[in-house]
Amino acid sequence: MEENIIIKLSNVNFYYGQSRALTDISMNFCKNKVTALIGPSGCGKSTLLRLLNRMNDLIDDTRVEGEILFEDKNIYASDVDPVEIRRKIGMVFQKPNPFPKTIYNNIAYGPKLTSTNHHDLDALVEQSLKQAVLWDEVKDLLSKSAMNLSGGQQQRLCIARALAMKPDILLMDEPTSALDPISTAKIEELIEELKKSYTIIIVTHNMQQAARISDETAFFYIGNLVEYNKTEKIFTKPDVKHTEDYITGRFG
């Protein structure tokens, strides 16, 4: 069990200005598993997700306490370059956000700017799009603008874009909340496929989604980690009454 841990949080507190958004969070994320973070709006799950690749650095006047170990190194240590962290920990956002560039250049953008090895870009683009199960739909449109794709295709493009960096971990912040049910099903299938080679941490508002795709589920409430367990357990007989109330829709 121990060697499967890829991220380890110890006593993490997070503040926006004076207000505390996360309280004393300690939890481990396992390699090659899908972990779902659930909870009502404002419970801190997205904040936690964005802590893991230091995206909260972009917000002025925020403060982190505690330790977040990734590969045994605290990613908030002063000698750590957040740019390096983000190369290894990719992110997919709530709203599909492709660049106003061609499909090809959306994928090639990251690798082109961050690696010195450019000669196999074509292969990398193809591989990434295939991984995101988008290749067959766009292989003849690579030089067309990504803005012409449908919402679901754009989101898979964003996943492909993140995969092209060959990250260790993929963070997903409600990746299907802006999509229709068919696109959602495609993304869920994709996540199922991706967990063979990646560690996935996903924030979702959709309880069925968490139950369908995740191995572990963490339930958050007003900045606290209430329960963290096997997904099966959380959705059948959770240890904490509060979790059960939330999952059965008695509040939140």
Binding site: R86, N97, Y109
Partner: protein
């Protein structure tokens, strides 16, 4: 009951019609005023326009001949002003919106820039005279004039660039940074290309102003009369706005040169329009690649 409702509907409909009429009327007034000015300039100026007028220097103490040196001078000064103002303005805006920690100092700087936009142009002219012409010893020259005009349009360009940078969706920055691309690369590759069309829109206003201002160049660049064309950026030039000013106030024969004055005004309007068109074409070319 029904008639009460009917009446209130009528009243609301009347208010709507009234409001639309007022809005329409104001557009009409603006259009008429602008059209009137243009019409007046064209009617009075078109007679003076000829091939010789735009390709020959003035003759007979500027009462005859063309205005070619002034056209060229204005183009030089405008292009020079843009060459000074645009890079400096964009760079400042990038710092102010993308890099600087928002706080009291930055707010103060922004207020200062806005104040600068309201400073009368003659103040810029005197600053140019004191600093570029005398202190830096550039003399009355294209260089001094371009720098002065560049500073004059700087607040306009910074303002436009700030707005354009802010209009680039935050999600683009996040997407780029989340890939492990550095902040500067994100700014240079994603933010700036998407902001450029907006920056150019604002700059077009600046270009018009640079081409049309008289006060900033009268101490720093403009010659009363010189038939020879500038050989370097350290030479004086004639310029259209100053030429108009000279002909209309201090010419050797103000009444006799009336047609030439109108012709020069028409040419100035044409030159500004021409430079604007170039900017508009460049902008629409850029926009093609940056739709979101």
């Amino acid at each position: 009951m029904d008639s009460v409702q009917n009446n209130s509907m009528k009243w609301r409909y009347f208010k709507q019609t009234l409001f639309f009429s007022v809005v329409r009327l104001s557009v009409l007034i603006i259009a008429l005023a602008l059209g009137g000015i243009l019409f007046y300039i064209i009617v009075n100026g078109i007679g003076a326009i000829s091939w010789d007028f735009i390709t020959k220097p003035p003759t007979d103490s500027m009462t005859k001949g063309g205005i070619m040196p002034a056209i060229l001078g204005t183009i030089y000064l405008t292009v020079g002003a843009v060459a000074v103002g645009l890079p400096l303005g964009i760079a400042s805006a990038i710092y102010l919106t993308e890099y600087a920690k928002q706080g009291r100092v930055i707010r103060l700087i922004k207020v200062g820039i806005n104040c600068l936009a309201g400073v009368p142009s003659v103040v810029f002219g005197l600053f140019g005279l004191g600093f570029f012409v005398m202190f830096m010893k550039f003399g009355s020259s294209i260089l001094s004039g371009s720098l002065t005009l560049g500073f004059l349009i700087l607040p306009t360009i910074i303002g436009a660039a700030e707005e354009a940078l802010k209009a680039v969706p935050q999600t683009f920055r996040e997407a780029s940074l989340s890939l492990g691309v550095s902040k500067w690369q994100t700014t240079y590759r994603i933010v700036l290309p998407n902001a450029l069309p907006g920056i150019l829109t604002g700059s077009i206003l600046g270009i018009g102003r640079a081409a049309g201002e008289t006060a900033p160049i009268m101490f720093t660049a403009a010659a009363y009369f010189t038939a020879k064309l500038p050989g370097s950026i350290f030479d004086e030039v004639m310029a259209l706005p100053y030429h108009i000013y000279v002909l209309a106030t201090a010419g050797t024969n103000i009444e006799a040169t009336r047609p030439i004055q109108f012709g020069t005004v028409l040419v100035l309007v044409g030159v500004v329009l021409g430079i604007d068109l170039v900017a508009i074409v460049v902008r629409s070319y850029m926009r093609k690649n940056t739709r979101w």
